[in-house]
């Protein structure tokens, strides 16, 4: 028997659950790194937490607070100009898609770039931003643009913008703490000799290896979340437009489009509809996005 297609609401709920689990994994990873450092330095766990946690939380808080401005300025984006017909039509499409999703209308921005691309950012649907490149406005027709905007609106609806913003913060915090730890170990030469009792050398070595690998783990987790969410946003976008073909055609155009002077920060690459730095044609655990061919195939199969 064919499996009953589930409702998008069910996916959003499942997505929220997955999100909670992944975020907890990230937090556990963060805690483990801090503990591992404390163990190597021979500091009591409570002291480690009292020093490590505020640093991490402060870093995450700062990334969160400045995320919107930093994404916008990294992309060199500006608010859409209603005097320009293309940009006005973009604003119209964003309004239409927000009606279809039943969400407040996001602010509309435009990024000067010949590439076809778009991204969504913000913390919650009420402060969300959708930005499209001038290349997308010039090269995509109404149907394709609608597909792209539907995809971005779906990122907002699925709370992806928040998840990505926070995970960027946690990944950064883990990298920062690991960096500090590695430097301290080198400068201090490790003080395992001074420690009385507790922890043997093997555990210390494992802890060091763990600290060195932790940023990679967190980055891989982050990329895995990103790829999974792209498929979901494609499906959600198709559900909003009721026209998977529009987005499929847009992705085909993106596939043949050669990236030109990529702008913006690499950490926000997952926010774009396709990676602005590299065309992900092959699947890899390092990809921010699933391969375009596979995305097109899934859209056409809907």
């Amino acid at each position: 028997m064919e499996q009953q297609p589930r409702l998008i609401e069910d996916y959003i709920r499942k997505n929220k659950r997955d999100t909670v689990i992944i975020c907890m994994l990230m937090v556990i990873l963060l805690f483990s790194v801090i503990f591992a450092i404390g163990y190597i330095l021979g500091a009591p766990p409570i002291l480690t937490m009292m020093i490590g946690l505020p640093i991490a939380l402060f870093y995450i808080f700062i990334t969160y607070s400045f995320s919107i401005q930093s994404v916008i300025s990294a992309a060199g984006a500006r608010p859409a100009n209603p005097q320009n017909r293309e940009e006005k039509l973009l604003t119209y499409k964003v309004e239409e898609m927000s009606l279809a999703a039943g969400l407040p209308t996001p602010k509309v921005y435009v990024q000067e770039s010949r590439d076809i691309n778009a991204f969504a950012t913000g913390h919650k649907p009420t402060d969300a931003i959708i930005c499209a490149t001038t290349g997308a406005l010039q090269q995509l027709n109404t149907e394709e643009l609608e597909g792209v905007i539907g995809h971005e609106m779906s990122h907002i609806q699925n709370h992806d913008i928040l998840v990505m913003t926070v995970t960027v913060g946690v990944v950064g915090a883990i990298a920062l703490i690991a960096e500090i730890a590695v430097r301290m170990l080198f400068w201090g030469g490790g003080r395992s000799g001074d420690r009385k009792g507790g922890g043997n050398i093997i555990v210390v070595v494992i802890a060091i290896i763990f600290i060195i690998l932790a940023p990679i783990f967190s980055r891989l987790t982050y990329l895995a979340i990103s790829r999974k969410r792209e498929y979901l946003a494609d499906a959600g976008g198709a559900y909003l437009t009721r026209n998977p073909e529009g987005l499929a055609k847009a992705l085909e155009k993106i596939k043949t489009d050669i990236p030109d002077d990529p702008k913006g920060s690499k950490t926000v690459a997952p926010l774009y509809i396709s990676n602005p730095f590299k065309r992900a044609l092959r699947d890899s655990i390092w990809s921010t996005h699933p391969p375009l061919d596979e995305r097109i195939r899934r859209l056409r199969a809907m």
Binding site: P5, R6, R85, Y92, A100, G102, Y239
Partner: protein, 188 residues
């Protein structure tokens, strides 16, 4: 009291708590979805009015160019009048579909008037009318999506158990005319 009595009491408390929590969740979801449906309905209404308000401007712009298309222009004006005088949702829905059809003809006919097509005012109105038309379509779609979600909530377990006691009944979806847009099958 022995252990078994305690265990039974604990179990009963647990069951009651679970039922209460489920009821809490379902109750909130029903109320939220009802509000969402009302809001979606209001949106459709707002968009229909907005479109009707644009018509006089369009007629003013077109008048000078399309002297010989009296029939087309009249059907647009009539459809607008029908929207303004509509009393029930069904009437306003029908009138709106009438206007959609009339506008489609008008824009098709406008293709034969190069002067008109070069008129900035006309272009702007055409963009805006297409936009409101799309907005109406998407508002209706959202309305139906919300109704579907609502009906699923109150007709499936455990929602049906509470919804029945709350006196909630399944809502009706809007019949969308040329509803060629099919819901894509979501699968991963």
């Amino acid at each position: 009291m022995d252990l078994i009595t305690w265990a039974i009491i604990l179990l009963i408390i647990l069951i009651v708590v679970i039922i209460l929590l489920t009821f809490w969740g379902i109750y909130n979801r029903i109320i939220r979805t009802e509000n969402q449906i009302d809001n979606a309905w209001a949106q459709i209404d707002v968009q229909m009015k907005r479109r009707a308000d644009l018509i006089p401007n369009l007629m003013e712009t077109v008048k000078g160019y399309m002297m010989h298309e009296r029939g087309t222009m009249e059907s647009v004006t009539n459809a607008r009048a029908a929207i303004m005088s509509a009393k029930t949702p069904q009437e306003s829905n029908d009138a709106n579909n009438m206007l959609t059809g009339a506008l489609k003809t008008l824009f098709a006919v406008a293709e034969n008037y190069p002067d008109l097509k070069a008129n900035q005012n006309f272009l702007q109105l055409q963009d805006e009318l297409t936009h409101t038309e799309d907005k109406i379509a998407y508002s209706r779609q959202h309305y139906n999506d919300s109704v579907l979600f609502y009906n699923n909530t109150i007709e499936t377990f455990p929602g049906n158990f509470f919804a029945h006691r709350m006196g909630r009944k399944a809502r009706e979806m809007l019949q969308i005319p040329e509803a060629s847009k099919e819901v894509p099958k979501v699968s991963f």
